[in-house]
Symmetry: C2
Subunit: 363 residues, 2 copies
Amino acid sequence: MEEWTVEVHHSKTKKNKPKTDQLEFGRLFTDHMFIMDYSEPVGWHDPRIVPYEPLTIDPSAMTFHYGQSVFEGLKAYYTPEGDIQLFRPDKNLQRLNRSNDRLCIPPVDEAFVLDAIKQLVFLEREWIPTSDGTSLYIRPFIISTEPFIGVAPSHQYKLIVILSPVGAYYKEGINPVKIAVENQYVRAVKGGTGEAKTGGNYAASLKAQELCAQKGFTQVLWLDGVEKKYIEEVGSMNVFFKVNGEVITPELNGSILEGVTRNSVIQLLKHWDIPVIEKKISLDELYEAYVNGTLEEAFGTGTAAVISPIGQLSWDDKDLFINGGKTGKVAKSLYETLTGIQYGREHDPFGWVEKVNETSAVK
Amino acid sequence: MEEWTVEVHHSKTKKNKPKTDQLEFGRLFTDHMFIMDYSEPVGWHDPRIVPYEPLTIDPSAMTFHYGQSVFEGLKAYYTPEGDIQLFRPDKNLQRLNRSNDRLCIPPVDEAFVLDAIKQLVFLEREWIPTSDGTSLYIRPFIISTEPFIGVAPSHQYKLIVILSPVGAYYKEGINPVKIAVENQYVRAVKGGTGEAKTGGNYAASLKAQELCAQKGFTQVLWLDGVEKKYIEEVGSMNVFFKVNGEVITPELNGSILEGVTRNSVIQLLKHWDIPVIEKKISLDELYEAYVNGTLEEAFGTGTAAVISPIGQLSWDDKDLFINGGKTGKVAKSLYETLTGIQYGREHDPFGWVEKVNETSAVK
Ligand SMILES: Cc1ncc(COP(=O)(O)O)c(C=O)c1O
Ligand SMILES: Cc1ncc(COP(=O)(O)O)c(C=O)c1O
């Protein structure tokens, strides 16, 4: 698709941009979106930026029936100098194609889609909020659109990118949350779709989330679906623990999503010479560390919150209060450094950030 | 909703009805569809029959992102007397609400939706094909439509019912298929969504299906996600085996869909005094029966095929040829009796069929 250009149809009307204190996550979308179609034998074609508007889709479109869909989530940030930057967008596009593979969706040209995203973000740059902690959330997603109700991979798809200005995740400073260990419902299992970013995993998680919220917890900690013994993720985040000076996180085992933030945290810790180990972590092992007094920190990692410290972890009759319910030192340093790099306040020794500017059109 | 009526907006144009030999599964839809909306605080409202046409849905609608959707599948049949009948539709509506519960979708009024389905089917009665083995497939489904990208249950839904005339499943007579045991990919796991009819389960199944088709098999036999040892389902069907005069089927364990056909097969076998047992069935146990010469029959059950005999079952270096690759006696009797009842050719001692006629409007 190298020689392709993105056709741009400008919106005739412009929505009002929200004030900083009106920013919510995922409720308001910008004036334009990117769309590209897939059909056979042409493959992906007709990339275009069009006004943000409802889709017109047949009720028999496969996506409504058999859940063949994938998505991604990343952000665009304003630096103090007024530059626009993305954080490791190549990782999101690589993951999109891994998700595509698991869901039998034809792969996209990663470089092309990244250029298209940059072009869309640059066109919508006035929508990127500038106050502390705010950003423009970017949601690429692919849906299967063939009008056919039969269990088979679709022969038609749409890739769509929509943008939503989002407020600061931590309005009153980074704050630890209460997490409940889930021992009835399962999010994903080895051999299933857990390592793909596909709707079904999130649909499966709603019930547990609803029940834990009723009991006053923010999120659940997911255990493995086989033995219900090993720790997998926390809500829609990867999870880390600091035990006796060493940072540990569940190894990628086929049912865990490989977070971009997870990968960045591991690299940062190594850069800081803090030992970090990816391995199977049992809940028992964690409890033992707690009892021994060596469980020093716990936190989730993900694009939305970046770092989300865990102050309390509960199951059965056990309540673990971690680091006295306060944000740990490592969690805090990771948060500051990662957001520092994302917002261009700190030097980026890893080449993680990518600028978006007037040259960012599809070439 | 007892006092509600379904508003009917007639289609101005009528599509051409297909000839019998043009009938395919799930590609052609009738002139009208049923829609009902859910929003808060009103709940389900505005039930209506409207011309079949594309839906207009915001690109941020939750269903595209987080897979919160459920569906059902049943059929309307013409009897030799020209009556229209449904087969155990109450079971489908009950299952719809069980799926809703797992997916955090608000329940529907089962009696009301069944009446609405009957009203739609009666309006579209000319679309029900009459030749042998043909029927009108009925697809109710619910999608989450709130324009919000956040992992949470939606506050807005649409229930839609579309109809598709379908040809005979067995054009050249009932015929055994070749099945491959799947030992890498997993469809569903206890604690997951396997017992709900939700898109994600089917999306998860595509990859295994694609790989087995490449090797010349029709479907996969799914094993349990925990030990990969126990038999769960075959493709999108429940599965039965006849071993030493006794019929066995995997017990409902939380990851298996409870098929309406499965339930009917169990009742019919009991009615015939053929022993039938629901239990955990290991692949090892099945293999042993095969080696002993006591594995007499194997077949899948589901609305589409009714009964699908399994002539060959393969894994690793093992190929089991069941009943000499021919349809077994029990499978054949079940097929004849079930289709006999469905098409009104045989007496229905169970009260399974429900007539659809001019009085079938929502009351
Ligand atoms: C299930 C799940 N795990 C982990 C993550 C964290 O991934 P990332 O750091 O790429 O945002 C996410 C969110 O994106 C997720 O949905
Ligand atoms: C996964 C799965 N199992 C079993 C069945 C059989 O159910 P039923 O007999 O109600 O059609 C179906 C199809 O409906 C299915 O999708």
